[in-house]
Symmetry: C2
Subunit: 400 residues, 2 copies
Amino acid sequence: MSSEKIVDLLKVQGFRASGVSCGIKKNGKRDLALILSDVPARVASLFTTNKVKAAPVLIDMERVKKGGIRGVIVNSGNANACTGKKGYSDALKMTALAEKALGLDKGSILVSSTGVIGVPLPVEKVEAGMKDLIEGLSYDGLPDAGEAIMTTDAFMKTASASAVIGGRKVTIAGIAKGAGMICPNMATMLAYFVTDCDVPVAALRKALKEATDLSFNSIIVDNDTSTNDTSMIFANGLAGNRPARCGTPEYQRFVRLLTEVSTRLAHMIVKDGEGATRFIEIKIKRAASDKDARLAGRTMAESFLVKTAFFGGDPNWGRIMAAIGKAAIKMDESKTDIIFNGVHVVKNGLDTGMEKEAAAAIKVREVVVTVDLRMGKGTSTIWTTDLSYEYVKINSAYRT
Amino acid sequence: MSSEKIVDLLKVQGFRASGVSCGIKKNGKRDLALILSDVPARVASLFTTNKVKAAPVLIDMERVKKGGIRGVIVNSGNANACTGKKGYSDALKMTALAEKALGLDKGSILVSSTGVIGVPLPVEKVEAGMKDLIEGLSYDGLPDAGEAIMTTDAFMKTASASAVIGGRKVTIAGIAKGAGMICPNMATMLAYFVTDCDVPVAALRKALKEATDLSFNSIIVDNDTSTNDTSMIFANGLAGNRPARCGTPEYQRFVRLLTEVSTRLAHMIVKDGEGATRFIEIKIKRAASDKDARLAGRTMAESFLVKTAFFGGDPNWGRIMAAIGKAAIKMDESKTDIIFNGVHVVKNGLDTGMEKEAAAAIKVREVVVTVDLRMGKGTSTIWTTDLSYEYVKINSAYRT
């Protein structure tokens, strides 16, 4: 949609990163990234729920259980998914090459891939690029890594924030890729966070899950999930703060900071959504439960008809009513209100005669649609895009 | 997509029908239909599962329980959905007008509406058109009714078939509307069947459910359901056959005949799918269960990415693999085969190198994609369309 202003990314002590071109992308752009902690870091991660998982995902799922992680190597241009046993050994080789070059123990580097599915990974190119990658490591290197994980992204996605937690200033910085959530063909949404905050691993896992539910799991561009989706956070504790243990005020502050950074990245992914012309915030109020609220929001965001209406700038509340009615939630049509950018078009399930005003109000880039169900206290916010000619063009023309 | 050749519709003894213009549609096309049995008929019906139900659906749901039904009155151009109490009394009035004009008992006529949501039904136009509607009743009138229920349909949908059941020749004739399954804004898929077969009401209900699952419930154009979806069958028993009771060979033959007629109508709806350029048959083989097979097929048919790839003529098996992997079914990537119009592109989860051949094979109007899961004995067939520029155009531009 729009390109984002790139703001300076805060440095996080003890983390170096690098991003180089090793030739997987035919256009010579950066396609190999490394993020490394100077000391062993605690790691939490979330992976795709798709049953078809790429080889690097399978490897990471095992390694994060064991601990002793120092960093992650990532390539773009090839997803190393649906590549069988060779794909698995190629992913293992990627980690071994990095571990050897860095003089680290086996199992201390994680691995991700993103790009085309079903094509063998040219691991010899990764090998050839390893020297440059290691030499490029720098405390200023996170934006280079951010660039090297891009695929169809129109712009790079980075965000960072600082706060005083447990007596010290701590920082979280993150990079992400994804344009279209999700495009399995170009496999996928990836997000990496680094922080110097001291967070026990149980708290780190909980925090990543909470922040992800409110950010990456609250955005929808299309209704597909990918084979490679990965989100991970590395916490090296160098800030020396009182540890952000579960249930403490320190933990609450840490979650808030992580949610802030991840939400900014998530919004960038929606704004870079394939063919998107509008950024749509769906607010569900007074649902019977938060779960109902999320389901109602998701069903709206996934509806072909709701999305095409937004593209046309049409405040088509009948489609929204039908989408919510389809969701497995408690609702009563005669209690439902629908509001487009402040214009109340439906009150108690009936047309208020304000459609013209609503049509004028939503012919802008950013649209807020509020659905008030009057069934309870559940709320949710989901961010999505419209469905445009350009989306169809990008996704029908991409490969062939 | 393509217009269908209209074949002669078989007459069914004891059923008259009519279709006229009463002025709800601004273009003067037919918009009011009546189907009437000369004698009380057994009725079975299926209605939308959407929680937001149009007024006529609510009325029919009550009436079919009571029995004594003689026919149905249908208007197009206005869905009478999201119209509150006035909508309900307008729908009641439609039935009362028809019952009075025909000299029938209160409660003997069912009612359906299809068209724009949220606009009050101009019931005075229905009243003004009633005389023409009744005078137009004819044993040859079913195609007129078929025309009068159309909304965005590019062509009329009728089908019929005969067979010897229980010692007599019986006939089923049907009409349907729907272009895009489903377009809530133009509310909806409607289907009406008439038959002279003697079928007890329990068997009639079971037969309609079975035939609908294999036909209308196996087609997907987009992922929305509507406020007005209705399918109903009237059986007046005038063929004088041995009754097609549940569990008898007569019942089996009747279900087969009804499935044949309803599948032909369902295929017409897919071929008339909004903006469709291809008719896609998804065959799932050897799933762990029939339920798994249906879910896998549906998930593929609902995927934005799978549908856009078909529009582009791209045999993008990575997207199919990811779509199936997302479905809540048992699967093993390394046992999965994918075949496009006879070309085996994936064997045991791996690329066979036949994509160019597959791309050539699917650049046609009708595509069969087979997914062989090798997990059990479950099978399903789902019919769907691609997702085109035209779909976006129709659905973004329709109202405003």
